[in-house]
């Protein structure tokens, strides 16, 4: 082998080695989720880091607030959720249902207390520990992220609606039509969906990445507490340790990460 070819191969080898070593740090630096970016002043905010996101909802906060929809409006506005005239086609990521329907088995326990049968309770996707919806998706368009959020990839969803059948909480909605004409005001910072795909609450993953609280929590911090369940110092952890907690359909074994409590 003559020297020029040999030198070329040497160069190629060094370049390959260097490439494999240097790529990761460079990409990390370029990645928006890298806390170091904030450290060196590129990124304005630090993304929220969490091992297991969860939410605690104070049921008593919604007492005497029959017409309050602050959390719903915040979520639906930020996420370009369309509004349809016919209830059949509705899409909702977070909504309210009467207490007796949300906790049919707990109905009796609070009969004498302040919470009544028709007290509105805020319900949303529970981002279960063992989601029955992700396992049945034929294309893995929905999956559970490492930090606990159950995600949907709108580009992969084929709209078979099996996840809707899998979810026992009715947390998912389907786009029966093209939603864009029905979104009251499009938020440019969040994608709109096409017709034919399923959607649901995503625990505001995009806001968490920017270091913000979920939209519903920001709209009503007294009723909704969001945080890392595995962080012993978080507010949610403290609430779960000190209050009586109930959950939706715990007997099904889905391990919901949305908890309900009352401030007494």
């Amino acid at each position: 082998m003559d020297t020029s070819r040999r030198n070329f191969l040497k160069l190629l080898g060094i370049a390959a080695f260097g490439f494999s070593v240097a790529t990761r740090p460079v990409l990390n630096l370029l990645s928006r989720n890298n806390p170091a970016r904030a450290a060196i002043g590129i990124e304005p905010t630090v993304p929220l880091a969490g091992k297991k996101w969860g939410m605690a909802i104070d049921i008593t906060a919604c007492l005497d607030k029959e017409n309050c929809t602050a959390c719903i409006d915040a979520c639906h506005t930020v996420h370009n959720v369309p509004v349809y005239p016919n209830q059949h086609d509705e899409i909702k990521w977070i909504w309210r249902a009467p207490y007796k329907d949300v906790f049919p088995e707990a109905e009796h326990a609070f009969k004498e207390a302040t919470v009544k049968s028709d007290t509105p309770v805020t319900v949303l996707c529970n981002h279960c520990t063992e989601p029955p919806c992700t396992v049945v998706c034929p294309t893995r368009a929905t999956w559970k992220r490492e930090d606990g959020i159950v995600m949907i990839d709108y580009h992969r969803c084929i709209g078979c609606r099996y996840c809707m059948a899998g979810c026992p909480y009715g947390a998912r909605s389907f786009n029966w039509f093209d939603p864009r004409p029905y979104v009251p005001e499009i938020n440019e910072d969040f994608p709109t969906r096409t017709r034919g795909v399923v959607e649901k609450c995503n625990f505001c993953a995009e806001r968490l990445a920017r270091g913000q609280q979920p939209a519903c929590v920001e709209a009503c911090p007294e009723a909704l507490i969001f945080g890392d369940l595995e962080d012993p110092n978080s507010e949610i952890n403290e609430i779960l340790r000190t209050h009586h907690i109930i959950q939706r359909l715990p007997e099904l074994g889905t391990g919901p990460n949305v908890f309900y409590f009352t401030r007494d």
Partner: protein, 449 residues
Amino acid sequence: MDKRQLQSTEDRPLYESVTTSGRNFKLALIVLGALTLWGLAAYIFQYNIGLGVTGLSRQIFWGIYITNFVFFIGISHAGTLISAILRLVKAEWRRPITRAAEMITVLVLFFGVGSILIDLGRPDRMLYLARYANFRSPLLWDVTAVAVYLTSSSLFLYLALIPDIALLRDRGGRLKWLYQMLALGWEGTERQQARLDKAIRFFSILVILVAVSVHTVVSFVFAMTIQPMWHSAIFGPYFVAGAIFSGIAALIISMYLIRKFYHLEDYLKPVHFNNLGLLLLVMALFWFYFTFAEYLTAFYGNEPLEMSIFWSKFTGQYAFFFWSMVMFCFVIPVPLLAFKQTRTITGITIASISVVIGMWLERFVIVVPTLTLQRLPAEQAFYHPTWVEFGILVGCLALFCLLYVLFTKVFPIISIWELKEGKEHKKAEVREWLRNRPPEERAELQREL
């Protein structure tokens, strides 16, 4: 194949169904074609605007299309039972029926798959089922099982067709080029026949196993969820029994029609209808047994969610569909089939039509009520199917019938070579039997005959 055999008038009706077409055929083409076009128009409308043109909603997101899917896949069990099982147990009476049965299976599977694709929100992404397949999903088990079933039934049908294609090739005619190509050089030699028999035997066993798995995994789509009245262990056997039930009924109806319109009275005799009618009766009893077990268990358990769905079927929103199902699946067919006086060709066909209607209702009654009363009763919903869904159902049925009729114009609907084989077997059997008789008996028989 000597000339004499080719020109013989024996078995002429079997060839005539292919070679001649009358007014009825043209009428069938027009009517079925028109209905198919209506279904196509409905689908194009849906494709352009979205699934919202159906009566589906956030609460009831699966309806007629999923019902059709389960229904069509169920009908596909016609071919398997008759062809494969009867071949394996060497039931000679199956011979004139096998091809019609196998044809139903192959065709109807396309409509089963088609119904799912029609139901998808993004049908343009249907290939993601292959590309991003998640094998933990019962839907993927479905895709796999149905794909294997479709492939093996098609091969099964084709293999059994080869000798008949060769017969048609040798007779000549307009489609000779097609038959030439498809006959694969079949000459009817002993070696070829032995190979064919082996292949058919292999496929018979395979197809039975696959068919059982197919409808079991279809049931698993529902049973593997934790929805009340779906999450039931009985679904596997229940669906398979229901599939065989509806499959036999569909086969009887098609036999009645080809017998009538192709004048095959000499081939499709009362004994064939009688035997299938008795099988249908047995399946009706099986179906009733499973249904009874399912609902009694739910009722006795008295779980609130299951009971709300139970009552919606027995006395509530879906009572009309539920009791119609019971009437069509059991009350009408069982007496017709149980008593010899009514177990005539007409009686058996009426029972079969009733069963087919009843089984479609049964699938509907399984899919929809569970979804209307999900765990948030405040969101109780109603399902009002629109013209789009009915149009597509009618279109699918019409296209199925149309393709079936077209098939009978290209290939003989009764397996000619198998009938001949049956005759040869019978002759050999009788010869052997005669040979073993004592001479006095033989002489007596000789005088008689």
